[in-house]
């Protein structure tokens, strides 16, 4: 029974991790195909990402859009999470549900609505249309993560600062925000990752000039599977791991 459990659990762990283990080495293949065995190791597909203007442009676009999305989502989400802390706010649970709803509504439906609305105002296929669309789906992560951090703060600390004569903005800047910072940072990281990976809304609201890395990967996967995909995947995975590590270190230093 005990062995059966261990074998079963290992099999599922393998099932969960195998796809990631399979795709990463292929980023370094010298072959033109995404197949094993790898004939020789090479960095030609990373060079392709840099040299080929379609890919390099997409990477730059992704970074620009993800950075703007992160700033916007983090500011809006953090303010809202601070507001949601209040005991006296009416309809709190309804507002919270509204803030989480973008994670629930199917992206395709939201995309159709955004596209027809943005086209009506001549606003579609701009950088801002993509940034706003990404912010809508990235923001819930910030709200959840900052709310989580805020519930861990002992409100007596803030009241103590207030009673010692600090004005509210100073209490916020010197007490609340530093204490909530880990939540803000991980919310920002999740927002960045969400924007980097967003495909469906991008299909609807981006024009050819706003083609992102994820969008470019999606169309490459549909047409011809090239190892450039694995190289791009490698960059995304390594980027995510680096962000996660930085966050963990930042948190450890604080603690």
């Amino acid at each position: 029974m005990k062995y059966a459990k261990a074998i079963y659990a290992s099999l599922i762990v393998f099932f969960l991790l195998a796809p990631l283990l399979v795709i990463l080495p292929l980023a370094f293949t010298s072959s033109a195909f995404l197949t094993y065995p790898i004939p020789a190791f090479s960095t030609r597909w990373f060079e392709e990402l840099v040299v080929n203007s379609v890919w390099s442009r997409a990477i730059v676009n992704s970074l620009l859009i993800a950075a703007a999305t992160t700033v916007l989502a983090t500011v809006l989400g953090t303010l809202a999470a601070l507001g949601l802390r209040s005991q006296e706010l009416g309809m709190k649970s309804q507002i919270r549900t509204l803030f989480l709803l973008p994670m629930v509504v199917p992206a395709v439906v939201l995309g159709v609505g955004m596209q027809s609305l943005f086209v009506r105002f001549g606003f579609n296929s701009t950088y801002w249309s993509v940034i706003f669309a990404h912010t809508v789906v990235a923001m819930p992560f910030v709200v959840i993560s900052v709310s989580g951090a805020l519930t861990g703060i002992d409100r007596r600390v803030e009241r103590a600062a207030l009673s010692l004569g600090a004005p509210p903005w100073k209490v916020f800047g010197l007490v609340t925000l530093p204490l909530a910072m880990p939540g803000v940072l991980s919310g920002a990281a999740l927002a960045f990752a969400t924007s980097l990976d967003e495909v469906v809304l991008t299909l609807f609201v981006a024009g050819p000039n706003q083609r992102t890395l994820a969008r470019q990967m999606f169309s490459t996967l549909r047409e011809n599977i090239s190892p450039a995909i694995a190289a791009a995947a490698f960059i995304i995975i390594v980027g995510t791991v680096v962000i996660a590590l930085v966050l963990m270190l930042a948190r450890r230093k604080r603690a």
């Binding site: 079963y8 969960l16 399979v22 209040s86 973008p102 992206a107 809508v136 609807f204 999606f218 996967l221």
Partner: protein, 393 residues
């Protein structure tokens, strides 16, 4: 701290803090969804070109030729129209309700342009036939249920009652059923794999638990697109599975694992498994560990103890997980689009095709509205279950 206490009140300050996000979501989330809803039920083609007629003909009871005022409104609309293409759309629409409109409208438009006060019955005696006026009345409303009906493969016949479309004209309903069926399969396989896994994860501790949970969380953190690409690499004809099976001599021809239902269900199960495991796990860790040994010491067979003790306790997590997985599945686009064949496309692909390829936003919105309502209904159930755990049991 002087200043009016109303402005210092915490409720007011909270409102100021959440206002920016509320405004932002109002503009870029709620408004697009409202656009979907209105677009799904509106059909302004006729009422925009014939506004006065549309306003006047609503009162007509369908008995006898419409009153002279209605006919005058109709003539005035035709005389005022300058957009021939829009009039062509109107003619086409009316002709599909009542054949003969194409020639009738052509004749009438040129006659009315020459003499705006001409008697319509003199232009063509068909204007004495109430059936033609009825067609205008039917199409005059700016609202329609035609798109919503069409997204379920239904239509209104000439008498106005709802009927099914002819076999083979539209596959929307079949694709909706396929979406629900595929999602049910994904939910079931997530449950079969995820329930024992969550139980094992909750029963061990230390590094074992960390590994089991990490394996669930890591894919959740990595890009969906990367994971789907990885499955394409694994499952393709010369992918790892086929190569190793052929190398072992188990098969001679590569198995078709991709661009079919198997590939879609497998990859979606992989992507959505965390949403099944985590809710079940979070319920199970609140269950005291000695319950099972208590059942055993009271003489229950392990199977019986499992069925009577652990399973009922994990039920709430199972239901939450199943709802989450099913809800996410029915709106899935990327994985079926990349790993499925033409016969595995789900409802999201149909919506995207209507919107992006054929710019038919009315149909895209109508099918989207159905998907939206389904998803929100499931979410409402999920929300209820997760909010008051005691009542839900």
């Amino acid at each position: 701290m002087t200043g009016s206490s109303r402005f210092r009140s915490s409720g007011f300050r909270a409102l100021i803090l959440i206002a920016p996000l509320l405004v932002f979501l109002g503009l870029f989330f709620v408004w697009p969804l409202i656009t979907v809803i209105t677009q799904a039920v509106s059909d302004p083609a006729v009422s925009r070109v014939l506004p006065q007629t549309a306003a006047a003909i609503g009162d007509w009871d369908g008995e006898g030729v419409p009153a002279p005022e209605i006919q005058a409104a109709f003539r005035a609309d035709i005389a005022a129209n300058t957009d021939d293409q829009a009039m062509g759309d109107v003619t086409r629409r009316l002709n599909s309700s009542k054949s003969g409109f194409r020639s009738l409208m052509g004749k009438t438009v040129s006659a009315v342009r020459e003499n705006p006060d001409i008697d319509l019955a003199e232009v063509d005696k068909r204007w004495a036939d109430t059936a033609f006026w009825k067609a205008i009345q039917d199409n005059a409303s700016p609202y329609t249920d035609a798109f919503l009906l069409a997204s379920l493969d239904m239509e209104r016949d000439s008498a106005g009652s709802i009927t099914s479309m002819k076999e083979g004209t539209s596959a929307n309903f079949a694709i909706l059923m396929r979406t629900l069926w595929t999602s049910a399969l994904v939910t079931l396989s997530c449950l079969i794999i995820g329930l024992p896994y969550a139980m094992i994860a909750a029963s061990v501790s230390g590094w074992k638990r960390a590994v089991l949970l990490g394996a669930v969380l890591l894919p959740l953190w990595t890009s969906l697109l990367v994971r789907t690409a990885a499955w394409m690499i694994i499952l393709q004809d010369n992918g790892i599975i086929n190569q190793s099976l052929m190398g072992l001599g188990v098969i001679k021809e590569p198995l078709v694992l991709i661009y079919n239902r198997f590939g879609v269900v497998l990859a979606m199960t992989h992507v959505l498994l965390p949403f099944m495991v985590l809710p079940i796990y979070s319920v199970l860790i609140t269950v005291p560990g000695n319950l099972m040994s208590a059942a055993a010491s009271l003489g229950a067979h392990p199977v019986r103890a499992f069925l009577r003790v652990l399973l009922p306790l994990s039920l709430r997590g199972v239901i939450s997980g199943a709802l989450l997985v099913f809800m996410a599945s029915i709106g899935y686009y990327i994985t079926p689009a990349l790993l499925g064949g033409a016969a595995d496309q789900m409802i999201s692909s149909v919506i995207a095709d209507y919107s992006i390829k054929s710019a038919n936003w009315s149909m895209a919105a109508a099918i989207g509205l159905i998907l939206l309502v389904l998803t929100l209904a499931l979410y409402a159930v999920y929300n209820r279950l997760s909010r008051d755990p005691i009542q839900a049991r």
